[in-house]
């Protein structure tokens, strides 16, 4: 069982020691990773995915339950503790959705029945339906993203879940985060989106490739997050209307209680 992971700070892009020397994330916690583009958010997520042992640019070290993970734990997909939804959404595999998911289920030691569940879940997250017979390489950005979210949620059912920018591909991000987070997992979300950032328990602030500080989400922020959710809901419905070729007459603001 994974109770906690510890990130031991390394060095930023300029070779200076990171201000945050140690960060601990416990089971059931959702951590955000925020910062400008190029500040090292994806690298931090990458370090955790690989359970780095001072062997990446940052020289960070990742401990699981306070101990160095074994080589086998770090590399064997059947034992893998980490599921990652990365920003790399270009499928290179020349095969159908069904073949791809079956192969991945086999790699992870998951049951082949998972395949249908993944496609079903993916179709709740995106507007354009995905079929098992579709070629992977022709999927749109939103479809690929939805499929990867569902794949991570169902096939790569690992105790640590890393999510790199959920907001970019026009999928229902709240539903997606809910599907991914699951019960009792350790979750890290890289985001530029205040709606997602304020949904987390704490957030790591990145700058110049280094962890600058860890900010706890305040009660006030949690309340604000509820309001932001409503605004987001409004934006989503407007987006659907525009997508469907409708003309917008007015925006209903009084429900937002701002």
């Amino acid at each position: 069982m994974i109770e906690e992971i510890t990130i031991i700070g390394g060095f930023d892009k300029l070779g200076n020691p990171e201000p945050v020397k140690k960060a601990m994330i416990k089971k059931g916690e959702i951590f955000g990773v925020v910062g400008p583009t190029g500040s090292g958010k994806s690298s931090l997520i990458g370090d955790i995915e690989q359970l780095s042992q001072e062997d990446t640019f940052s020289k960070r070290k990742i401990l699981v339950n306070g101990k160095t993970p074994s080589y086998e734990d770090r590399t064997n997909p059947r034992k893998k503790m980490v599921a990652q939804l990365s920003q790399n959404m270009n499928f290179l595999a020349d095969m159908t959705v069904g073949e791809f998911l079956s192969l991945h289920a086999k790699c992870r030691g998951a049951h082949s029945k998972c395949v249908n569940a993944v496609v079903e879940l993916a179709n709740t997250l995106t507007g354009e339906p995905i079929k098992k017979e579709h070629d992977l390489t022709i999927l749109s950005g939103g479809q690929s993203r939805a499929l990867m979210v569902a794949d991570v949620a169902i096939i790569s059912n690992s105790p640590i879940v890393l999510i790199d920018e959920l907001e970019n591909a026009g999928i229902r991000k709240h539903d997606a985060l809910e599907a991914l987070a699951g019960h009792g997992k350790i979750v890290m979300v890289v985001t530029h989106d205040p709606v997602l950032a304020l949904m987390t328990d704490k957030r790591i602030v990145m700058k110049n490739g280094g962890m600058q500080s860890v900010v706890g989400t305040t009660e006030k922020e949690k309340a604000l997050s509820q309001k932001l959710n409503k605004i987001d809901g409004l934006m989503l419905s407007l987006r659907d209307q525009v997508r469907n070729g409708e003309v917008i007459d007015d925006i209903e603001l009084k429900n937002l209680e701002l």
Partner: protein
């Protein structure tokens, strides 16, 4: 002397991964030497020179680069001896997917690029299936799911190899590779045999025929329907 033979498709990151691994070997204090085999051109020797490792370049020109590497093993070992090296690393050109220049007691390392698609492990043949170590590079450019499928495909072709996921830019994974170099056994050339036979290469094209029409060709020839025969006197 320990001998490591590194094969892999062009551009897969053999040199980048080796530079990091050999820096680790330098830090441990073991003396290494590198022979880089290529066909027509290479400037990789300058990259190895930068980390103070004696480097020799072999250009095979008209000869098959893998045959050339095998044929020159004795010279390479003698040269490494002259440089007081305890570890000889031979980086091959690795082109046609048919040869595997690994010898029985050397450490056979295959470097393979994850962005080349999940069917690549099925295509590359003996330099993967007879390798001790498969190093997967550029894994950071594809999704985790595709990376895991790629890995599974490698194990289908070579269930006994050790897989190391490495990053030629950051050096991630290269310390593990250096560890395997250190564990490899001593070789003595008299006892060494290839793990996999080199392919047939005895047709008129091998000796310079340039006409393409079938009637001009002699030797051991294989037709597209799979029929193979000897044509000639």
């Amino acid at each position: 002397m320990k001998m490591v033979i590194v094969a892999g498709t062009p551009g897969s990151g053999k040199t980048a991964v080796l530079i990091h691994a050999l820096q680790n070997i330098n830090e441990i204090g073991l003396k290494s030497a590198v022979v880089k085999i290529d066909c027509l051109y290479t400037d990789d020797d300058r990259k190895f020179a930068k980390i103070n490792i004696p480097t020799k370049v072999g250009l095979s020109m008209d000869m098959c680069p893998d045959h050339y590497a095998i044929y020159n093993l004795e010279e390479m070992i003698n040269w490494a001896d002259e440089n007081q090296a305890e570890l000889l690393v031979i980086e091959t050109a690795g082109l046609c997917h048919r040869c595997a220049p690994f010898t029985e007691n050397s450490l056979g390392v295959c470097v393979i690029d994850a962005t080349s698609g999940p069917n690549t492990p099925l295509k590359v043949g003996p330099f993967l299936s007879t390798a001790d170590i498969a190093v997967i590079t550029k894994g950071d450019m594809i999704s985790q799911a595709e990376r895991e499928i790629f890995r599974e495909r490698i194990l289908e072709v070579n269930p006994n190899c050790k897989i190391i996921e490495a990053n030629g830019l950051s050096g991630q994974g290269c310390a593990e590779l250096a560890d395997e170099f250190m564990k490899s056994q001593e070789v003595s050339l008299d006892q060494e045999k290839l793990r996999h036979s080199a392919p047939l290469a005895v047709c008129t094209l091998c000796v310079g025929e340039t006409k393409v029409n079938k009637k001009y060709h002699r030797g051991i020839l294989r037709r597209i329907d799979g029929f193979q025969s000897y044509e000639g006197e």
